[in-house]
Each structure stands twice: as structure tokens, then as C-alpha cells.
Amino acid sequence: MKKPIEKETRAYMTGNEVVAWAALAAQADIMYGYPITPQNEIMHYWTRLAPQFEREFLQTEDEASAGFTTLGGVMAGRRSFTGTSGPGHMIMQEAMCMAEMMRLPLVSIIQQRGGPSTATVIYSQQESTLACYGGNGEGFRVVYSTCNHQELFDYTIKAFNTAWKHFFPVFVLGDGYQAKMREPVTLYDPEARGVQMIPTKPLLGLPGTPGVDRDPAQLRNTYNTEEELFAVVEDLRKAYEEIVPQVAEYQTYDCDDCEYLIIAHGVVTRTAQEAVKNLRAKGIKAGHFRPVTLRPLAADALLPIACRAKKILVAESALGQVKRMITDGIYGCTTPIETLYKPGEGIYTEEIEAKVLAMAKGE
């Protein structure tokens, strides 16, 4: 069968279309999904493209079903994924929590919209806590926060490999801006760039007759005693902590000598880095640290940079969801932290710049 992307192609498309192409390029077998804005066009493009490459799609009755059918897909050993947003993301957390408990390689693309509740269909960074710590669990997940279309492409591909390598649920956290706007992007076949897709394997329906050739594969999430559960969660914790050094990602921008450290993730990265440029031109030694994985957080990398700085600014289109993770991650660092929170609203370069200038003046 022909490959979806034979040679590197420069394209100009929306983020949702980029995700569909990335999932094709990553050899995803099946998508399960339910309509919600601003995620819909992932399904729109997938349903148009998938039959051309013998891939499957199921439109479910709700996000609970989308989550649990995706889990069925991965248990059958197929590279499966789903996408959602906002209230749908809340509903889907039930399945994500089961994936966390049973170490199922669930991949979901989250295009964040405004919250709480139905709120807006536009944009926010208000689903970080939900993606990282949703459900009645302990946050055994990997959450990538992308900042542009190229990253949506790269990290959607990477999400499948992280999931099937480490067997924890993986989230690609985009947002309504990234989902809906058009931007240049380079589409490529991962194998042509030396990125091998990690093979999938069935967790149920294994070869041979259970009880004759092998023990049955019977996957559990229910336990009888406190001690039994504690042992299971300890195993999860240890397995998760082992992958942290391999999985945690971050980006630094002018951090080496920076006195004013801006911490921002996702699409706010763009305005933060623009602000750093402008501030440097004005003689202010600003820098930007960007957690690429919100979970696990690259706290070891952040701590020395944060301690060296005079002041820290956390800029976020939410009321401190990621800031809480940061203060927890750099516990012991005494650098004062200021905040620029705009829940559900975009953050402009000028706003960050003005805030840092005021901080530098000691206002």
C-alpha cells in the first residue's frame, strides 16, 4: 500500500488537518471520536483520508464511548487514537484513568477550549490539570504541550511511539488557536527521517489457546485489599519514575544569563520568546523556559535556571494550573514569582513585555 506521505512536503493547513496527516504518517490504524469544537476537523480530515490508506474510523455516541472504544482498539493491538476538547475531555477522563491504571497506550489529541463548563469553543490553556492529573488517579501520563503546527505534526507522531514504548497514556495538548488557524508545516514520513514507529502488540486475543498453550490474558483494574492496591500503585509509580528522564522535555530561550525568567508553555511560547527579543533589545536580560512535557515536568532542568534568575514570571491562559506544577517542581527555589494569568484568553507579546519591564523597575 502506498505511504500517505512519500516525500517531504511543505504545506499550509490548519492544525487539525496537520494532526490527521500526522496520525496517517504514524501508521495509526483507527480513530474513535465524537464531535466537539475545536477538535472536529481532526475527524473530518481523518474520515476523508483514512479509507484511501485502509485505516478505520468509528464515530461513537459520546466521549466516554470514544475513550473506551479507543482502549478496546489498543487492547486489540492496533495503533488507535482519539481527540477531544473541554467538556468532552472531562467525560473522556474516565477512560484515560483506566488507561493509567492498566498501562494502556492510549493516544489522545486535546484541542483546549475555554472553561469551566461549556464556556467557549475558542481557546484556553485550562485543560492542563485535567490532562496531567484528571480522574481518580496519580497522574501517570505523558502530556506534550505543542506551540506550533510543526510540533503538532512531530508530537502526534511521537505520542504513538511514547505510548507503545512506555505503556502510559499520552496526550498531545493543543488548543483552539492551533486547531483552527493555518500555518506552514513540513509533512514527512517518519521512517524517511530515521524515526521508526514502535511496533504495536495485542494485549488480548493472543496467539494460542488459553489454558492449553498459555495462561489467559486477564487484565485487571479492580483489587480487593488496600495492600494489594498499594503494591499495584507502587509498581506504577516506579515504572513512571523510571521513564521521566527519557520522556521529560523542555526548551530554553536565552536562559544562560537571564535575570528575568519567563515560564510559558504551548502557544504562549511564541509571545514569550518575542517578548524576550524585545526586552533584550531594551537591555533587559530576559529569558524563556518552556516545559514541552507538562507531565512529567523537566524540573531538574528548570531548577538551576529558576534559582539563578532575579525574578520569574509565569504567563498562562489559565489561572495558574501549570504554575502550581512549577512551584511544586522547583520547591526550595527562593526566586520571587509573579504571574500573568488570562484564563481562556490569548496573551500578547506587549503584555508580557510590560509586565517584565515593571518587574525590572521593582514595581
Binding site: S65, T69, G72, M75, S80, P202, L204, G205
Partner: protein, 254 residues
């Protein structure tokens, strides 16, 4: 009595049952054991142990999670249907059986059951109807009879306030497309129940459509009944409310 005669008197366990997890975990007098024995014999007769994926809902049905020598998975309450759907869509060679109670199928998982029917998913849903939420201690279920006393209807289910018992197989028959199979069986008629379960599984194997069997089941623990009362409630009261028989496919005229 010679020893060989004693051994002969022990009922045969289905080949597909997992010996080391027996005796099963259900209460004495519970109907689940009989439903699962019938399923086990069907699996043996059809020779599908190596293709079966047994998907358990939460509630008493979860106690069946390691009952078979077959691959299986525990899910969440109400979510056995979508997990089985996801498995079957991803690998149609599997034979996916979602096993649940009346709460899992008709209340918390009702939207999944309805839409699996509408899409005519090629899976089999086996549902035990014992007119209450048994694992959680005997609360009112969608299937509780009018006047039935439960922990959350201590004065009896009131038609005006709590509605009437859910008729699952009739609903499934009404909303599925051609090729679907729907029946109501009872543990009181074992051979008939087994024949319905067999037809349901065959329906999936032949890729005809959604297949569904509700099995009227007994719950003496929560009904607080002795053997005689249990049987009377199952056969007389439940039998009068829930007509046993095939509702679609099989021997009925579609």
C-alpha cells in the same frame, strides 16, 4: 456407595472454564453461575476459546473476570459495551462478549447499548437481570418490579415516581437493523437459555449484526428470599413482567 459413583455425580464443568479459579465467586443461589455455565458450554461447542474476549462490566458481573480460560478485561461500570465495540472494530476476528448486569446495561451504560444497537455492532451483549443493583447492596434498578422493595425503594417501586421496569430485549429488537438477534432467557429454563446464548454468539460469528440475550437471574442475597421464595419470584413475578422468548432473529418472524 462406591467412590466412582460419587465422582460421576459431580456435574461436568465446561472445558473453557478455568479450573483453578473455581469455585466461582458468586453468592449461593445466584443466577450468574448458570448463565456463565451455559456460555462456557456454548464456547466449548463452538470451539472459540482461542478467539473469545470476555469483557466484564462492574458489579457482580465483574466476579466473572477470571472465570474462563479465555482472554478478558475488567472495565468500568457501563463501559463493557464500548470496550467490546472498540476491540471488535479493531480486530474483527475476535469474538467479543460484553457481560453485564441490568444497571450496567440499562442505566449507566444505556447510551452505549442503544448506540451499539443502532450501529448493529458485531458484538454479543449478555445481560443478567436480577431486578436490583446487587454488588452495591440491593438498590433499585431499571428492572425492579412495581412495588418491589429495595434499599432505595424501601416502600416499594412506585410507578408514578419511578416508572416501570425496563424492557431491554424488546428495545434491542426495535432499534437494531436487519441481522440482529435479541432474546430474553431465564436461568429457570437452562436448555432454552443456552440455545439463545448459542444463537447470539453464532450471530456474531456469522457477522450478521448485534446480538443480545437478557437472562432473568436470581439474587436471594438481596431479595432476602429462601430457595422456594427465590424460585417463585423468578418464575412467577419476574416471568409475568418479563416475557421469555426470542424477540428478533432466531425462530421469530422478523
Amino acid at each position: 456407595m462406591s467412590e466412582s459413583k460419587v465422582v460421576k455425580a459431580v456435574p461436568k464443568m465446561p472445558q473453557s472454564w478455568r479450573q483453578e479459579t473455581k469455585a466461582h465467586k458468586f453468592c449461593p443461589g445466584c443466577g450468574h453461575g448458570m448463565i456463565l455455565k451455559a456460555l462456557g458450554e456454548v464456547v466449548d461447542e463452538l470451539g472459540i476459546q482461542d478467539r473469545l474476549v470476555f469483557v466484564c462490566d462492574i458489579g457482580c458481573s465483574l466476579l466473572a473476570w477470571d472465570l474462563f480460560n479465555a482472554d478478558g478485561v475488567q472495565t468500568h461500570h457501563g463501559r463493557a459495551t464500548p470496550v467490546a465495540t472498540g476491540l471488535k472494530r479493531a480486530n474483527p476476528d475476535l469474538i467479543c462478549i460484553a457481560y453485564m448486569g441490568d444497571g450496567g446495561g440499562y442505566a449507566i451504560g444505556a447510551q452505549h447499548l442503544v448506540n451499539a444497537c443502532v450501529r448493529n455492532e458485531r458484538i454479543t451483549v449478555l445481560l443478567a437481570n436480577n431486578t436490583n443493583y446487587a454488588m452495591t447492596g440491593g438498590q433499585m434498578a431499571p428492572t425492579s418490579l412495581i412495588g418491589q422493595k429495595t434499599e432505595t425503594s424501601p416502600y416499594g417501586r412506585d410507578l408514578a415516581k419511578q416508572g416501570s421496569p425496563m424492557k431491554g430485549p424488546e428495545m434491542v429488537a426495535a432499534i437494531t437493523g436487519p441481522g440482529a438477534y435479541s432474546a430474553r432467557a431465564t436461568v429457570a429454563k437452562y436448555k432454552q437459555m443456552k440455545s439463545y446464548i448459542k444463537k447470539a454468539v453464532l450471530n456474531q460469528m456469522e457477522g450478521r449484526g448485534f446480538s443480545f440475550v437478557e437472562c432473568l437471574s436470581a439474587c436471594p442475597t438481596n431479595w432476602k428470599t429462601n430457595a422456594k421464595q427465590t424460585w417463585a419470584f423468578l418464575e412467577e413475578q419476574m416471568g409475568a413482567e418479563f416475557p421469555v422468548g426470542e424477540k428478533k432473529g432466531g425462530d421469530c418472524n422478523e
